[in-house]
Each structure stands twice: as structure tokens, then as C-alpha cells.
Amino acid sequence: MTTSNDLLVVTSSPHVHSPDSVPNAMRDVLIALVPALLAGLYFFRLPALAVIAACVASAYAAEIICLRVMKKPQTGEASAIITGLLLAFCIPPHLPVWMAVLGSVFSIVIAKHLFGGLGQNIFNPALIGRAFLLASFPVAMTSWSRPLDGVTTATPLSIMKEATGQALPSLSELFLGNVSGSIAETSALAILLGGAYLLYRGHIDWRIPGSFLGTVFILMSIAGWVKGAGFWYPFFHLFAGGLLLGAFFMATDWVTTPVTKLGRIIFGVGCGSLVVLIRLKGGYPEGVAYSILLMNLVTPLIDRYTRARVFGRVKSHA
């Protein structure tokens, strides 16, 4: 035998594996986030760069330290970077850097590693970070600035909600991202590009963004009709705020969303309904983060009650 005096290997089948792996998938998500990153940097310049760098660096550092302290092997995948990046994407560009760092560390330590690390957390870490920051520093977290020149102004959604009389941005401005808001939520175009890449790579299931956005669209169409607002109204809600970012990158996080197909549709519809509820009736102009967190909460129950019928468990035989 030519096997260099080594013993042969005996394992269980299969002996081939798809090239898919956790590090590869995380890398793909990072790639998908690049357009949004570029758009964010273009519109919000240096302050955005500082916040992004701070979030990503502190998230990654927190991850490494957590693993070390808990005496677990370093995993060498990029999920913490995704968390940091996504957190940075959904906070205001002018947030003081120390707050961003705090949020990032909270995400990784409390929302992820206290639960056992990658794959075991219940809540979306990035969104927990955002919710933490919003509840902790509401003043700083609700001070927005205009793209490019950084003048303080309201976001399209708060203009809408509070009817302050300011002019609403046009749909095309919303689509391209030339409006105030979180670092990378403003450009619908960039996010759609990234989302399309993730769908193409098979990392996310169309069911979640589909049912999420579909629900918002339908409910907002009805609301717009009731208000007599015209056909732009649902589109305004689709492109304004963090809806697209949330639907493509956060409601699709594997770890914190249902695993069954029906469950994913329920999840998306739930998120969509909650967003509409909060945007129209709630205390906040925007509700994407909370809606996803609330649905994260229900995910274990959704999974439990939406199990697929096993092949061969046909009704007559059940």
C-alpha cells in the first residue's frame, strides 16, 4: 500500500462535502455589505468612518476576549465583524465613538457570548446593541444629520410621523440614499444589491425578506388608501428608514430566525406587521429593530409549532 506507513482513515459517510462553511458564509455576508458600506461612507464621510471602524474593531476585540476568557477556541470567522458592521450601519453617523464602542461590546458580550457564542444566541446581537444604545442615549441616538454636509435634520420617517411641515424627500432620493438617517440604511439601492448577492449565494431564504417587505407594502398600501395619500405612500415606507437593511440582513440572520419554511413566512409577516404598527401607531418613527427583536423572541415557539410534515406522514396514515 502506498499510504506512507500511515493507517487509513475510517469515518462515517459522507466523504464529500459542499464547499460551504461558516467562515465562507460570513465572508459572503461581508461582501454583500460592501455596497451599503460604500454608500454610507460616501454620504456621511469621516464621522461615519470613525463610527464604523470603532464598532467593527471593538466587536472583534470583544469576541476574541470573550472566547479567551471562556476558554473556548478562537473560531476565526467573521460573524463578530458582521455584528459590528451592522450595528454601525443602523446608528446615526455622528454618534460619539465611545457610545458606539459601548453598544458594540454590549452586543457581543451580553447578546452573544453570555448565550454561548456563535449559533446559540436568541436575539440578534447587532439589534440588541442598537436597542441598548437607543434606550441608553436617546438624545444622541435620535440626532440625525443631512448627508454630505452634516447639518442636523430630521429623518424622512420622523418628518412623516410628526408632520413637522418639512418637505418629504422624493422617492428617488430615498432610493439612492441622499437622505438623513443611520449610516447605511439610507441607500435602498446599495442594500438591494447586497441582498441580491446573498440570495444568489443561497445564504438567505427569500421567504423572510419577501414576506416582511410584502406585508409592509400591503399594509402600508391600505393605510395610504385610508389616508388618501396616493400610491407613493407604500413605496415611501419601503425605502425609508432601516426596513430594507433589516429585511435583507437582520431578519435573515440564521441564528435568530426560524428554521422552518412556514416559520420564516410567519416571521416575516410578523416583522412586517409590527413595523407597520410601530410606525403608524407607536411612539417611535421607526420600528424595524424592535419588530425583528420581538420576532426573535417568538422564534423558538414558531419553530416548535411549524414543523414540517415528515415524508410519508400522509394524513390517512398519520
Binding site: 471562556m70 473556548k72 451580553i110 447578546a111 457570548h113 453570555l114 448565550f115 454561548g116 457564542g117 446559540q120 436568541i122 436575539f123 440588541i128 436597542a131 441598548f132 434606550a135 409590527l274 404598527l277 410601530i278 401607531k281 407607536g282 411612539g283 417611535y284 420600528g287 429593530a289 424592535y290 419588530s291 427583536l293 420581538l294 426573535n296 423572541l297 417568538v298 423558538p300 415557539l301 416548535r304
Partner: protein, 191 residues
């Protein structure tokens, strides 16, 4: 009608009895390990909460208030609740053994549960009418059950999670509760 609606939304979602009023934490932490137990506890608490709401309101309105002995509220209520729980347990065992089997073991835990007394006191504080007392008690019961059921779903999933040794059990449950109540902040400002 709208008033009732507001009471319901407020009690279930916004001022959830466990997540934002901090009542009934003990059973929330103690009986949320299994979904089935949560449902049982939720059922038992709902039952007692509504009955106690009705009784305490009656006693307050027709005895304590007319005789101007409002200061006996605490002691009167706790006696009513304790007797009620005992009575319910007894009646249940006699007339519906299956129900007793399902809820019975949770009943004794309820006497020393702040939720029941707390809601009874809030009912009076808010000067609700009888109808509102019923709706209010029922909504809080629903809020309690909701929180408990969500929690147990999560805890069942956490059962095999690789949680740091010293955080297992109650500590992580508290952290989950923290994040839950953070998510519930999203409901604030509703109505």
C-alpha cells in the same frame, strides 16, 4: 370600547406585568423551564387573578370604602387571595380532577405571588369599574402568560446552549428577561 382596548394593549404589551412592572418574577423565573409548565402556571394564575380581582374589588367597594377602613386593604386582600387559592384548589380537586392535575401543583405557589396582590391593588388604585377590573385582570393574566410562554420557549432552546457555567439557570434567565423587556420597549408609545 376604546378604553377597554387601551387597558388590554397597555397591560399585555406596554406595561407587561413581568417585564415592566416586575410583578410575579418568582414564578416567571421558577416555572419557565418547560413550555407545558408555563402554560399550566399561566392558566392557574389567570384563573386566580380574575377571581381575586372580582372578589377584592367587591370587598373594597362594598366593605372597605363604605366603612372607611381602606387601610385594611392589604390584610384583607391577602386573606381573600389565600382563602381563594385554597378554595379553588379544593373545588378543583373535587369537581375537575383533570384540571386539578394540570394546574393543581401551581396553585400553592400563587399565594405568595406578587402578581395577584399587585394587580388587585392596582385595580383599586386606578379606580376601575367592575367591568374594567375584569378586563384589566384578564389582560395582566394574558401578559403574564405571554411572558412566561415566550420565556419557556427560549429556555428550552437554551437548554443545550454552551452558556458559561456560572450564568446557567437563573442568571441567564434574567438576562433573557432583560433583552425581552428591551424588545418590549418597542411597544411603548402605542395606543
Amino acid at each position: 370600547m376604546q378604553e377597554y382596548f387601551i387597558i388590554i394593549i397597555s397591560a399585555v404589551l406596554i406595561n407587561n406585568i413581568v417585564l415592566s412592572q416586575f410583578l410575579g418574577i418568582c414564578p416567571f423565573l421558577g416555572v419557565s423551564k418547560k413550555l407545558s409548565a408555563s402554560l399550566g402556571m399561566g392558566g392557574a394564575v389567570s384563573f386566580v387573578l380574575v377571581l381575586a380581582g372580582a372578589l377584592t374589588w367587591t370587598v373594597q367597594t362594598y366593605i372597605l370604602n363604605p366603612f372607611k377602613i381602606g387601610y385594611l386593604q392589604t390584610i384583607a386582600f391577602i386573606l381573600i387571595i389565600a382563602a381563594l387559592v385554597q378554595f379553588v384548589e379544593m373545588a378543583m380537586r373535587k369537581y375537575s380532577p383533570p384540571l386539578y392535575k394540570a394546574l393543581g401543583i401551581y396553585l400553592p405557589l400563587i399565594t405568595t405571588n406578587c402578581a395577584v396582590l399587585g394587580v388587585a391593588i392596582i385595580n383599586i388604585k386606578k379606580e376601575y369599574t367592575f367591568g374594567k377590573v375584569m378586563v384589566h385582570s384578564l389582560s395582566h393574566a394574558a401578559g403574564f402568560t405571554l411572558a412566561l410562554v415566550l420565556m419557556s420557549g427560549i429556555r428550552e432552546r437554551l437548554e443545550d446552549a454552551d452558556i458559561p457555567e456560572s450564568m446557567r439557570g437563573t442568571p441567564i434567565a434574567l438576562v433573557v428577561a432583560a433583552l425581552m423587556s428591551m424588545a418590549f420597549l418597542g411597544f411603548s408609545g402605542l395606543i
